[in-house]
Symmetry: C2
Subunit: 184 residues, 2 copies
């Protein structure tokens, strides 16, 4: 496979379509359209997997997502600002979205790709232990968030509901937590 041209075919501030021209295995010219944030750095975003040490529960958020036109159950997340480390971005986003504070970082994934047929977006998963009382006073006006803390049994109940929209990462981690009591 040989990509010989990349063309940005829209011009918006936060997200654009890119057309890559390439030769496939047989030497035939092909093109592939994908969405990109065109950040200079990888990952684009940090996704925090928080475990609350006092409550002994996994923390997720119920958040309005414009592309879904409804509320999704997911993890706190956000774009990494220029000059920020993954851990700094994770601490900031967790606090802004939930009011909780990172006590320690358990594990950090490399930059991993959200859906590589559709986008070059990458995220880093930051597994943390956190503490404090949940509050959403720091939410931006475009954010509408409810913080939920789940025990193993509550996670099992949650994942069985068929009317909830789940983020893919959150579903996989919840399924493990429901089955084993461990998030990582």
């Amino acid at each position: 496979m040989d990509i010989y041209k990349k063309e940005k075919i829209t011009d918006y501030p936060h997200l654009n379509l890119i057309r890559a021209k390439y030769k496939d295995r047989t030497g035939t010219d092909k093109s592939w359209l994908y969405a990109s944030r065109q950040n200079s750095a990888r990952p684009d975003a940090v996704v925090i997997v928080p475990f609350h040490q006092q409550e002994n529960k996994l923390v997720i958020i119920k958040e309005f997502r414009v592309p879904l036109g409804g509320f999704q159950f997911g993890f706190p997340a956000g774009l990494v600002d220029p000059g920020e480390s993954i851990v700094q971005a994770g601490r900031r986003e967790l606090y802004e979205e939930t009011g909780l504070s990172v006590v320690n970082v358990i594990k950090q994934s490399p930059a991993i790709f959200s859906s590589s047929g559709l986008t070059d977006e990458s995220i880093s998963l930051l597994y943390v232990v956190c503490d404090g009382s949940a509050n959403t006073e720091q939410n931006e006006a475009s954010e509408q968030i409810e913080v939920k803390m789940l025990s193993q049994d509550q996670a099992a109940d949650c994942i069985r509901q068929n009317n909830i929209l789940f983020d893919v990462k959150t579903w996989i981690v919840l399924e493990r937590f429901a089955a084993t009591g461990k998030m990582v």
Copy 2:
């Protein structure tokens, strides 16, 4: 939050940008740009998590991904064709991409969302036991795939490499498999 208008602002066959106009919590007009395949059905795609019963190993694929400009380690996956069930699409894609056959389905997730800030794309995870010999004769010309089968120890080695591009779902499942020997 109140979405009062959705506008398709590009016109390509497989992927487009959509602008949603909405009023935020304070009643202020806002807009949000996202990428969509605009399928009528959910999920857009099936992602197969295959365990090989004879080899006793997890199956992943190393695949060229145009948006990344390189090879990614991921699970076999593909769009669900009109009229196809998730299980039918999963059987078909697993065979086309790896030559392996589904023996039985262990678990099927609901439609879950890849990255709901950027896209409305949803997938269903299909955990299966499979059998057969890996071959890539059924690959399309645009596909360049190598099938890899990983024991628990090999998964642990794989996930420690820092020069591999991983799909997010695959990284989370591999991390669990490396730690526990279980994929679900």
